[in-house]
Assembly symmetry: C2
Homo-oligomer: 506 residues x 2
Amino acid sequence: MNGVHGRIPGRQWSRAIASVHTSCMTTPLTLDPPDWNVYRSLLHRAVDDALDHLAALRQGPAWQPMPAISRDAVRRPLPAEGIGPEALFEEVRRHIAPYAWGNTHPRSWGWVNGNGSAAGLLADVIAAGMNTNVPLGNQSAAVVEEQVIAWSRQIMGFPAEATGLLVTGASIANLVGLTVARDTMAGTDLPAAGTGSLPPLTVYASSETHSSIDKAMAILGLGTRQLRKIPVDQALRLDVRKLHEAIRADRAQGLRPICVVGNAGTVNNGGIDDLGALADVCAAERLWFHVDGAFGAVAMLAPGRRPQLAGLERADSLAFDFHKWLHVPYEAGCILVRDGAAHRRASFAPTRSYLVPLERGASAGPDFSQLGPELSRAFRGLKVWMTLLAHGTTRLGELVEQNCQQAAWLAERLTQVAHCVVPAPVALNIVPFRLEPSRLPGDRRDAINRELLMRLQERGIAIPSGTSIGGRFTLRAAITNHRTRQDDLEALAVAVEQLGAELLSD
Amino acid sequence: MNGVHGRIPGRQWSRAIASVHTSCMTTPLTLDPPDWNVYRSLLHRAVDDALDHLAALRQGPAWQPMPAISRDAVRRPLPAEGIGPEALFEEVRRHIAPYAWGNTHPRSWGWVNGNGSAAGLLADVIAAGMNTNVPLGNQSAAVVEEQVIAWSRQIMGFPAEATGLLVTGASIANLVGLTVARDTMAGTDLPAAGTGSLPPLTVYASSETHSSIDKAMAILGLGTRQLRKIPVDQALRLDVRKLHEAIRADRAQGLRPICVVGNAGTVNNGGIDDLGALADVCAAERLWFHVDGAFGAVAMLAPGRRPQLAGLERADSLAFDFHKWLHVPYEAGCILVRDGAAHRRASFAPTRSYLVPLERGASAGPDFSQLGPELSRAFRGLKVWMTLLAHGTTRLGELVEQNCQQAAWLAERLTQVAHCVVPAPVALNIVPFRLEPSRLPGDRRDAINRELLMRLQERGIAIPSGTSIGGRFTLRAAITNHRTRQDDLEALAVAVEQLGAELLSD
């Protein structure tokens, strides 16, 4: 297959060589435009488009499919020659910009998505203008990131010696947390030696735990089989007695338990484990306590929700996102590690001859690349810093509380809809629901609910998503949305009623 | 330490609870501004600032330190209440925006940095307006990413069945490549079982290999000790005979060789291994062939450089960046995997009950999260798609060639500077240099060169970086910069001459 798909006509190559050789030192090429005002005008149109879109979001569909003509417009041959910026802008404006996933919409409640804010947009535009690389260095982006980590420590009740890093999201944050857990608990120089010579290292988490923990187990070479999925109680919280049993059983078999993962907000129902009890287990059993607080941890800003999170501040490592329930644009996640020295000793800090520390100049600053898997990094800190400063923690906490109350209201409202049930408790902000028409058998009910979900999305009414609860297909509305109002929730209930009738008469 | 740093005054909490409880369902809170025009005006100012800055880059310093007053302005207490957007914008404009790392500057040649373009800026602004989440889904961002991967296959000579993923950069791309290598070559269900039951799995790479490969070995639980650093020849390319010996020796000891990593552009001197020879070794020894082409792989677009890369198209996996030598803004890296089925079977694809596949609606699209460590992902594809389409592969290839010729010119020019030597060959675009004043002992020379580097940066003249070559501190200019002109290189040479005289007279 070598190069069959890859060849670019030879004539173009020769032409390119000739032209470069004769001119590059005298009349250098550049991507900078001969007239910046062409791009200036397009950039002004782009921000107007963005704001017009945001201001009119509620009037548009929650989601719309990308038409074939637009797909074809994207699927162009590899361009040998450039097209002008104006033509390019029109293509993007017509064929790409209108067909986002819908996560900014007031009726976006699928998966656990964030919807951003105007302050975050402003931050992203400024950061795009700076286009600064943030692996390390003596630069404002480093100072901003350190400040965001300091604020995060304060919000989450972590000590001053805790380290932290902005990452793309909670999946990487969980990966970093479990890496430090593994490296610290292994009792050998694991980054150098590998896991090979050790007995299987086991990790414990509830059956409701997010798949990113499984993924981290696989990537880290620990193996998903060594992740013990502990059963949950009726409130879908990890059963602490069964955790004790599992740890004891594994120890008896010669395995080495290293870590318990607590959930601060599960994806299925927003359930929060008894984090204080898990912290006690970890203290008694000398295990690392990692908390996956992907969206739920920021409920620390909502005073009414804080008691549910008690014990979170005792975690050895905590993963959470700013781009979900704090409404920061994508991507912005965070990992905090209580024992900063352990974090700095973990797998992320090999030696690099070409990054020689100097006392002064551009490189004389923090080295973020020693705390996570990335080296080049964008300026993620600005949108977090600006979102917090634009709105303040009080308002951000009130919005968390508002979403929780909206979820409670929606759960209540959906039980008034014909055949609709809410099959699990609403612990925080996630409402599972499904149609249970008693005259249909179970598998037909699953088909009806899948169809209900697809029609809700296809008609642009709302974006819930689907999951499996008790082996049954279930819709879920995860409300982490500052644009959601009561009429949006009412619109969902009305649509479920109407579509239910439509589906049951099919 | 629980919560000592984390407490927010109780009175604020109570007030927040009360206000939410009374109003949230009737007068909902939102982060949307009462008047969008406030943000509109700021966004227009932000894009004007960005363009004014880009247009005047050459007149400003290559780098400048962030003053204490600006650091203090960033280090604010955790804000309970928001400040208005205008005040916030002025803070950022004054204290943050001016103090980037300098990687956009025409005389930015440190590490291997990219400097972006106006088309990339336009793309980032449009993407910021969309703020779409791209873990999967039926959305334009998915179609754009698939198209960018298709173009990447074509540029790199990969077959149509190869899979690919946009990631934050080559560190993650290398991690993904080595994960698939490990999982495929282990001969067991490694994602489930872990590495524990296997003999040590060994990986081979030259002594010039980037630290992200060490980091991946550590993260994956393989252990950096199992990374065999094979010596290089005089052109700093992996010595293939010694590779054979190392593989044989490890096999004789019962270890299991799994992968050879080839370099397409080392960080120290841009050296490219004999990729064809390495591909032959891997074919004969049945090993996975991974290529780290972080910045160098895109030289495939430069016809004059393509022969040096012969064999790259035979890699099993290839990591490279768009944000370096293709001038796409941060972050945009890519991993290609020849055997798409192997990629899909690797550690990234655990089951997720809450991501139930549906035939229609918002989720009916590709699932990128099964190909890499992330779930939530920003729309990285747009800036790659727009950069390629704005400029075309011919021009982008010419710029690669231009930088290589500039590097050759600079190496020649620096040897005319008093006491200056270029201690390693210039294979591509990287020029190592240092002062070797014969009357000074070795350690004094290192101190002089460190001081030279810091003064070049501090005075805003240029941003080379430092490394170690042959155990000696060495400066290096890595030219991946479409803004660089001959007068910029001349300015560096003149400054090295002047600063050298200054330092030697100290």
